[in-house]
Amino acid sequence: MFLSRTLPMILVFVMGIIGFSLYFIPHPAARQFENTLSQWSIAIGSFAIFLAITSLIRRYINNIKRGKDVFYSIVALVALFGMAGLGLFAGIDEKSLFQKIFINVNVPLDATMFSLLAFYVTSAAYRAFRARNVEATLLLVTAVVVILGISTIGDTQVWLRKTAEWIMNVPNLAQKRGILIGVGLGVIATSVKIILGIERNWMGG
């Protein structure tokens, strides 16, 4: 109980107060200590990669043992160890096989997945973007003006560019600021709750 709940809560409280206070103390000693803490955090963050790789390997080995998605699991493991091996033993510079595989395999695959969105968005907009009521009509007109105004069409149609800029800089900016202030207050409230041990979901409920 002490190790699993009390100690983590004490650590969070102490480090939370220290981290918060250091932000406002300009003394060189405080800055130096803050810098040390930053370097610790970077080192601790590296353990997350180790944890992620371990979890990935266990997951796919279990899949193979159970006979579930065996082919895909083997591909994932071969890709993981293959790329790691290439990077570790054959170099990672711009002419390396590691970089060539990344640029010519990984990048096009990822970009292809993402570019499919353009097709879905076009089809969805055509079927669902309807001026059903006043609000929907306003949204539709605003979207069209902003899309055209900030594109190359706005370069030749100054009124369109100006209208789009006004929409972005006045109503859009106002609502964004409102949301940001709300989010900021929410973050402060949640942080205080975590530091004081009121919010404990981060410990697993």
Binding site: Y23, R31, Q32, E34, N35, S38, Q39, S41, I42, G45, S46, A48, I49, I92, D93, E94, Q99, F102, I103, N106, V107, P108, L109, D110, A111, M113, F114, A118, F119, V121, T122, S123, A125, Y126, R127, F129, R130, A131, R132, L140, V144, I147, L148, I150, S151, T152, I153, D155, E165, M168, N169, N172, L173, K176, R177, L180
Partner: protein
């Protein structure tokens, strides 16, 4: 008369039900044509882009700027041309460039972008020296802690570059202690990393920060320009095309060399696709209203 009306209504209903196959095919053709025919746009630089351009243009030769390639392949077509254009501008002004990334996927992309511009300058007859004109630091895990770490001690945060060289010994990096020695940080981001640069680098260390973001994220970061927390912003493919066109023109004038265009071609595809989308929305709405009118009758 009644027959004619019935026929018209049927047609208007039909245009609201174009099969997905034809919509996809239309989009594919529209996207591919400018890329195949290499149709280039001649864009005019927008205000937010010009703010970044002017800031870099005002830096004295020898200054150091830092680029953060915090994006993955999905955002590459929008963000990489921005990074290439900014590097070209910086090198032509005698400004030195450090690259790094806070995203694992950005590691290879950052390396690709930096080496590509170095190769362009070599082909143009103005070779750049690694370690003096440019340095690639690679990926560092920790996000906000890395940003804070640079403000504390640059060499502790990045003791070695991507290739394993000691940053204390390289000409470009040996004199860099913290943000005081970095004139500008530009974060090319497909996520929320500009927020971390603003919170930790700008707010805590008064570091000048600019952002290059995808078009869908542009509205999120606009409030920070008005407050001066960002010196400017490159927003989507349009800004990339604006900056690229300017730097290509500069390189042609100075070296008689034309770098390969990406965004100035891509923006034509994007604009055509946007017009296609708007036309489809209008067609869909015409059909919707026709159908609604008939139902009311």
């Amino acid at each position: 008369m009644a027959n004619n009306e019935k026929k018209t209504t049927t047609f208007l209903e039909k245009i609201g039900q174009i099969p997905r196959f034809w919509i996809y095919l239309g989009l594919l053709v529209i996207l591919m044509l400018p890329l195949i025919l290499r149709i280039k746009a001649k864009p005019r630089m927008g205000m937010e882009t010009k703010m970044v351009y002017d800031f870099i243009d005002s830096l004295p030769p020898g200054s150091v700027i830092m680029l953060s390639f915090t994006y993955g392949p999905s955002a590459r077509p929008e963000l990489e041309p921005m990074a290439l254009a900014i590097m070209r501008h910086a090198y032509m002004r005698g400004i030195r460039v450090m690259g790094m990334t806070l995203s694992v996927e950005g590691t290879g992309l950052g390396l690709e972008a930096m080496t590509r511009v170095a190769k362009e300058f070599e082909e143009a007859g103005y070779p750049l020296t690694y370690g003096e004109d440019w340095v690639y630091l690679g990926y560092k895990t920790g996000w906000a802690m890395v940003i804070r770490g640079i403000g504390g001690d640059f060499h502790e945060t990045f003791p070695r570059d991507y290739y394993g060289n000691d940053t204390r010994k390289m000409a470009l990096t040996r004199d860099i202690q913290n943000y005081d020695d970095i004139a500008l940080v530009i974060d090319f981001a497909s996520g929320g990393s500009p927020g971390s640069w603003i919170t930790y680098a700008y707010q805590q260390f008064d570091q000048k920060v600019a952002a290059g973001v995808t078009a869908v994220m542009g509205a999120d970061w606009q409030p920070y320009i008005r407050t001066g927390q960002l010196v400017g912003m490159l927003n989507g493919m349009k800004a990339a095309a604006d900056y690229e066109a300017k730097t290509i023109e500069m390189m042609e004038k100075r070296f008689g060399y034309t770098p390969k265009p990406y965004a100035t071609v891509g923006i034509v595809s994007v604009t055509w696709a946007q017009i296609y989308l708007i036309i489809l929305i209008i067609i869909g709405n015409i059909s919707f209203f026709a159908l609604r009118r008939r139902r009311r009758r």
